[in-house]
Amino acid sequence: MISITDITKAFNRGDINEVKALTGVNLQVNDGDFITIIGSNGAGKSTFLNAIAGSFSIDSGRIILNDDDITRWPEYKRAALIGRVFQDPLLGTCAGATIEQNLAMANTRGKRRGLGFGVKSKDRDSFRKKLSVLKLGLEDRLKVHTGLLSGGQRQALTMLMATMVRPRLLLLDEHTAALDPKTGGMILDLTAEIVESQNLTALMVTHNMNQAISMGNRLIMFHRGEIVLDIKGEKKKNLKVEDLLRRFSELRGEEGVSDRMLLC
């Protein structure tokens, strides 16, 4: 259960370049919810995810995850509860470390790190088992530096690492946007599989309307730092791309100016 109450965030406050990125966002997420988030560029989707993850402190409002008020927690402390996959495939893994070292680091997420060996030989079998699920042959390349892997392979590894210790909340920020369609599709299938099998609560930002409709059980749309649409359950199942496009153009009409939107 995550409850987000009236959070606001402005960048460059008091400056002529002030940007109101979030203007009072409220959201109640139930356990097991898989919510897809859409919206035009600059609508506040990524800012919203970053606010939950703690990349910056919010100006006002509260974020409560299960029973913990995490509003003032620093990012590294929240990481114990939150798994993240970024748009940039290079951000999620450590290029200078080997695959097994990366997995070992993910395996200690939110736990106390000690002076025992980072990669324990008893862990290697479970690492191999987990990697074989990806069907990328990475299970035979435990000692390869991740810097040598492709973007898709690294993103698949990040997906695995983010969910290695079961997160209370999984944040996916356009995690397939930087990949080619085939690899992106593979990552998406993997996402659905992991979320399903571990019964995770997840938020996924995407620019792809089809993805937003086909994945998850709930869809929200951001516009100018607010949630303007919240569709769940049966209604979401019957949702069509045209409905969303109509809603988008309505918003655009209200504005009177057409800001560039990425609609695929």
Partner: protein, 288 residues
């Protein structure tokens, strides 16, 4: 000489390569270590205790740089320069005068000569070599532990390791502190070996450290972290040998003087930096 400065070079390797934090504090923390050690010895403390005190002082100096960078968001290079110039005044305060002689005082070097019974020209390098070796072995072990892995990742991908629940600020502060503790121990050892601490003995430390790291990487490779650490240590020895050779060089009436050292160091680093590229070109040319 090469081994005496080996600890400092390993410290520079830790900040410069592992943490990706160009740290000039060492120019101040090396004489700080020398100063603290010299003052402690003249005050009657044992030389070993004085080295420990020097290490603590160095750690604090490094931690200050780390805190300036992480908590107050000052650019790492600038933060380290600030600490470095502040240390110049602090070192003068610690010593009370520009230099302290340790002649007639018992030092670790004297102690080691007595224990081994070897002449000092053998036992001194042996002592420094042993200290460096133990440190390298300890570091290699440390960098393979859970904490060590997080330390490596802090310099490599800060966002990733933060997302895995690591407080990178703490790691940077402790890492830069550790590096400067090693520079301070070097200062203490060098002061005890040459029998004097001088406020200006730190000038050019960072350049020598970087030169050694880069020469080591170029000559011995940096494929794995263990290899890179040993390469840094050997690079330190190689650097001192190269400097000694350059100083002995005579071309007719022209000979190189100590005042040319900075130029030589710069040339050495340049050669070490372009060597890998030349190597690649030769390999590429051959395979055609």
């Amino acid at each position: 000489m090469g081994f005496a400065y080996g600890l400092m070079v390993i410290g520079v390797y830790l900040t410069f390569r592992v943490l990706d934090f160009p740290d000039l504090t060492v120019d101040g923390s090396l004489p700080l270590g020398a100063a603290v050690s010299a003052v402690a010895i003249t005050a009657g403390y044992s030389p070993v205790v004085s080295i420990f005190m020097a290490a603590c002082a160095g750690f604090i100096a490094g931690a200050v740089t780390g805190i300036l960078n992480t908590k107050f968001k000052i650019l790492h290079l600038l933060a380290s320069i600030l600490t470095m110039i502040a240390l110049y005044s602090i070192n003068l305060r610690v010593m009370g005068r520009p230099n302290i002689t340790l002649l007639g005082q018992d030092t670790v070097v004297d102690w080691f000569v007595r224990v081994t019974g070897l002449p000092s020209y053998i036992s001194t390098p042996l002592l420094f070599g042993l200290i460096c070796l133990v440190t390298v072995v300890l570091l290699i072990w440390f960098l393979h532990t859970e904490i060590g892995l997080a330390f490596l990742a802090t310099g490599n991908n800060m966002q990733m390791i933060t997302s895995q629940g690591v407080n990178t600020d703490t790691f940077i502060i402790c890492g830069v502190g550790l590096s400067n503790a090693m520079a301070a121990i070097t200062g203490a050892l060098v002061a005890q070996n040459q029998g004097a601490a001088d406020v200006n003995m730190g000038v050019g430390t960072i350049v020598a450290g970087l030169a050694s790291v880069i020469i080591g990487e170029t000559v011995f490779g940096d494929k794995t972290i263990s290899r890179a650490l040993i390469a840094a240590l050997l690079g330190s020895v190689l650097y001192r040998v190269a400097i000694a050779l350059a100083l002995g060089l005579k071309l007719g009436s022209f000979s190189i003087t100590p005042s040319d050292l900075n130029l030589i160091t710069a040339l050495l680093v340049i050669v070490a930096l372009i060597m890998p590229k030349i190597k690649q070109k030769i390999i590429a040319a051959r395979s055609k």
